[in-house]
């Protein structure tokens, strides 16, 4: 009975209700798209970073994280590998030896990150094989390298050319060697694309004069949310005096902080948006109350209880908010699903400009449910607070005055 009354009340003044609903729905749509884009980009950034650099978990020597030099590498032994492989949730352990050196070809020289990798395991983490745009992927026994496209362009070399690497090896040893280029890789993140050189692990160990040494072991895990558990499991089983296990939140604090800052600015925008919607909603509620003063007065004079009237008005507002939120999400959802599956990639000048900031030039959308229900909760909460205004008016309403004023 009350429900039907409230429902009919809404549609008695269609124009007013539709405007209210659309303004809220549009705000919900905007908020959803914005949050989806933000959260989607964060996930992508984390995934990108985890998938390129460190994995979600990394094992390295104590002290390596603060001073990333070869002298802080550790010895690779079967027991350690077994312990890691036997930990629940760990899919692959990817060994690496990495350091910096100069890469040179003819008269050009540039600093490069030299990564010694196990080609097969590495691919299972970083999908590096799919980054090859020219030539072939390296094999375990090769004495050749893969070079990132940006670096290759700078040095003006291609597949089959020889690249000279010069640097300092383990314990200050002299590291200098010349390698044939087997493949060229293209990475989305410019920093990688401009400086990376991949070598088979054995060859890198020879180059840096660090036989059987590793700088890190990165772990592929079954699910990102298990990271914390695996970190504590592993820490319990290895010698934590010598080695350290780190999850991605510790591995990439700058990324985490960057995301937090961006997230806060996003939330501030969101609150501004909510404030605008809030006043819009308040406006319509105000209008509605003023418009219906006569009606309220008549209702009350014919014996309608205040409380029941308040209840109906309150229900109207709740229903309007629900319809609006559902409409907003309903419009947003198909778009978000589509763009979640087909991220927007930029091209041309704008892509270059974004790349220069070190960000992948693309928009990614998240379908995390929290995006949607947080909008719904906020709108409902606002409707609830603002709804007290008409209730308050009804509470203080004097039927005769109300009817006279309204006329």
């Amino acid at each position: 009975m009350y429900f039907i009354l409230a429902w009919r009340n809404i549609w008695r003044n269609k124009r007013r209700s539709i405007i209210t609903i659309l303004s809220i729905a549009f705000a919900v749509l905007l908020a959803c798209v914005m949050r989806s884009l933000q959260l989607g980009s964060y996930n992508r950034m984390i995934e990108n970073a985890a998938r390129f650099y460190t994995g979600y978990i990394q094992v390295h020597k104590n002290g390596y994280w603060l001073d990333k030099t070869l002298d802080n590498s550790f010895e690779n032994n079967a027991k350690l590998i077994n312990t890691i492989a036997n930990t629940k949730g760990v899919k692959v352990a990817v060994p690496r030896l990495e350091s910096f050196a100069l890469a040179s070809y003819s008269t050009k020289t540039k600093g490069a990150l030299i990564l010694g990798i196990d080609p097969i395991k590495e691919d299972s983490l970083t999908k590096v094989k799919s980054k090859i745009i020219e030539g072939e992927y390296i094999n375990n026994g090769d004495k050749s390298v893969m070079v990132a496209e940006g670096l290759a362009k700078y040095l003006k070399l291609g597949v089959g050319d020889s690249i000279v690497l010069i640097g300092q090896g383990y314990h200050g040893a002299n590291a200098a060697a010349i390698y044939a280029i087997k493949g060229i890789m293209k990475f989305p993140v410019p920093m990688q694309n401009n400086q990376t050189v991949y070598l088979p692990l054995k060859e890198a160990q020879w180059f840096f004069d660090a036989p059987n040494q590793l700088t890190s072991i990165s772990l592929v895990v079954d699910q990102a949310k298990n990271v914390d558990r695996i970190v504590s499991d592993l820490s319990a089983h290895i010698d934590t005096k010598a080695l350290e296990v780190m999850g991605w939140r510790d591995l990439m604090p700058d990324l985490v902080q960057g995301i937090e800052i961006d997230n806060i600015s996003g939330q501030i925008m969101l609150w501004v948006l909510y404030a605008v919607i809030g006043f819009g909603m308040f406006g319509t509620f105000l209008m509605m109350t003023a418009e219906r003063m006569y009606e309220f007065g008549v209702m009350m004079s014919v014996g309608m209880e205040r409380l029941k009237m308040q209840f109906i008005v309150f229900m109207e507002m709740g229903m309007m908010a629900s319809i609006a939120v559902l409409t907003g999400i309903g419009i947003a959802l198909p778009f978000l699903v589509y763009y979640h599956l087909n991220p927007i990639f930029f091209s041309g000048e704008s892509a270059k400009a974004i790349e220069n900031f070190g960000i992948e030039p693309a928009y990614f959308f998240s379908l995390d449910p929290v995006i949607f229900y947080s909008q719904a909760w906020t709108i409902f909460f606002m409707a609830f607070i603002l709804g007290f205004y008409p209730l308050f008016i009804i509470q203080k309403l004097k039927p005769v005055e109300a009817m006279r004023e309204a006329l």
Binding site: S104, V164, L165, I166, Q168, H171, G172, A173, N174, A176, A177, I178, D209
Partner: protein, 246 residues
């Protein structure tokens, strides 16, 4: 008359014994350098957790020219360093390249040791670029020594703010050297010992360089063989010869 004679005698002895600090330093410097020399040495880099040995041959002519050829470990064999005046090159046979060491690399460690590239290149002369003063004498491992405080000239291209050197009174060997920075903090200590005859001269053959901020690190150089005054030509210290020399 008697006084006059004894006065004259005194004066003569002063002249014989009382050489200036500059002369003492020059004698010591000449002794280690010779007009030219050829050496074989073993450098040991000592760190708390590891140790590395490098053997090499070196040729030098005065302060201006020197050439160092690495003979071991095997992976570095054949690489060479050439110094001409204040420039330095590195020959890497494994990559078939000569690399000129830029000024920015001069203060970096040489082959992972406690010596910097600049220590090898140093064109500064402990004789000409410093003002030497004699301080009180001391005894180091049973040998009477001069203690000489050297402060570089204002315009000299020297990285040290002060150097204190102890020179043996009999053989004019440097036995202990302290290197201070411009704020008078100790940076490096060099200890020279194992004095014996080599290449016709009595010289210290064991040299330890200890950085003050990391007392557990040191770099040791042992001379295995030394020859002096070989009459090398300037042309010996050329980029071409650096690639050829054995």
């Amino acid at each position: 008359m008697k006084y006059l004679v004894s006065g004259l005698f005194l004066l003569l002895t002063f002249q014989a014994v009382g050489q200036t600090a500059k002369e003492i330093v020059k004698k010591a410097d000449d002794k280690m350098q010779g007009e030219s020399n050829k050496s074989e040495m073993k450098m040991t880099i000592v760190r708390p957790s590891w140790k590395r040995e490098i053997t090499m041959k070196g040729w030098s002519m005065g302060r201006e020219y020197s050439l160092i050829l690495i003979t071991a470990p095997a992976r570095d064999k054949g690489s060479a360093f050439l110094k001409r005046k204040n420039e330095m090159w590195n020959w890497q046979p494994s990559i078939d390249r000569v690399i000129k060491l830029p000024p920015s690399m001069m203060l970096q460690s040489w082959m992972g040791s406690d010596f910097t590239n600049d220590d090898l290149v140093k064109e500064s002369s402990i004789v000409h670029d410093y003002d030497q003063t004699l301080a009180q004498d001391t005894i180091i491992s049973g040998l009477d020594c001069y203690k000489i405080i050297m402060v570089p000239h204002e315009n000299a291209a020297v990285v040290w703010g002060k150097v204190i050197v102890y020179i043996d009174k009999v053989n004019f060997n440097e036995l202990l050297v302290y290197y201070y920075d411009e704020d008078n903090f100790l940076v490096n200590t060099m200890i020279l010992s194992d004095v014996k005859e080599m290449g016709g001269r009595i010289i210290p053959t064991h040299l330890e360089m200890i950085p003050a901020d990391e007392p557990n690190n040191k770099t040791v150089i042992d001379y295995l063989n030394l020859e002096f005054n070989l009459h090398l030509q300037e042309s010996f210290f050329s980029l071409q010869n650096m690639k050829r020399v054995r």
